[in-house]
């Protein structure tokens, strides 16, 4: 997977959280939040800022607060 430079100012810990949750795959996370795997990849790489609804769903999957997943730099 190529490491593209982030284009948004929203940073996230999704990659770390996935590995802390039984090495959850991007496809698994995508399925659980109703997005495509490509979109999860784009969010992780900072190439796309998800909607508030999607952000809450992602945090919900990991069982943490929104600010534990996303932060604004």
């Amino acid at each position: 997977m190529s490491k593209a430079a982030p284009r948004t100012q929203i940073r996230n810990n999704i990659r770390a959280l996935r590995f802390q949750h039984g090495e959850m795959t991007q496809a698994d996370l995508a399925e659980r939040v109703g997005l495509t795997r490509q979109t999860i990849i784009a969010i992780e790489q900072g190439r796309y800022s998800p909607s508030l609804e999607a952000a809450f769903k992602i945090a919900g999957v990991f069982g943490v607060r929104l600010e534990d997943v996303f932060r604004y730099d």
Partner: protein
């Protein structure tokens, strides 16, 4: 590249091929009557349809298409917005051609060219948004 990116690439290639071919073939011709203008428009429509359908059938056999999600919808909206600006600008150019009494054949090519440029702007910007981010 994902299914959607390849689909966009196919459409860009089809536009360049078909519009390029017909643009060169009909350049400088009077394009009057059913055999000229209608033949050009029908030819472009059929060629574009056949090319893109065949290419997408082949593509669908090789790659699984994912459903649309919020990112796809955002990218489509932004692509359409960019295409609107291009279409507006090119329409002003066509209007200028009309006001300068440009002959019928060239006007038709200009209108078709405007559509082609707007579509290229839409597809090109969608591709960039997919590759580089929104």
């Amino acid at each position: 590249m994902t299914f959607r990116e390849k689909s966009i690439a196919i459409q860009i290639a089809a536009i360049l091929l078909v519009y390029g071919f017909y643009g060169i073939r009909y350049w400088g011709q009077p394009l009057t009557g059913a055999g000229g203008a209608v033949g050009l428009v029908v030819g472009i429509t059929i060629s574009m349809t056949v090319l893109t359908v065949i290419a997408h059938v082949v593509l669908a056999g090789r790659l699984r298409q994912e459903r649309l999600d919020e990112r796809d919808r955002v990218i489509r909206l932004r692509g359409s917005r960019n295409a609107y600006h291009v279409l507006t600008m090119t329409n002003w150019c066509v209007l200028a051609l009309i006001l300068t009494n440009t002959r019928h054949g060239l006007l038709l090519l200009a209108v078709l060219g405007a559509f082609a440029l707007a579509e290229l702007a839409r597809l090109g910007s969608e591709m960039l948004y997919y590759r580089l981010g929104t």
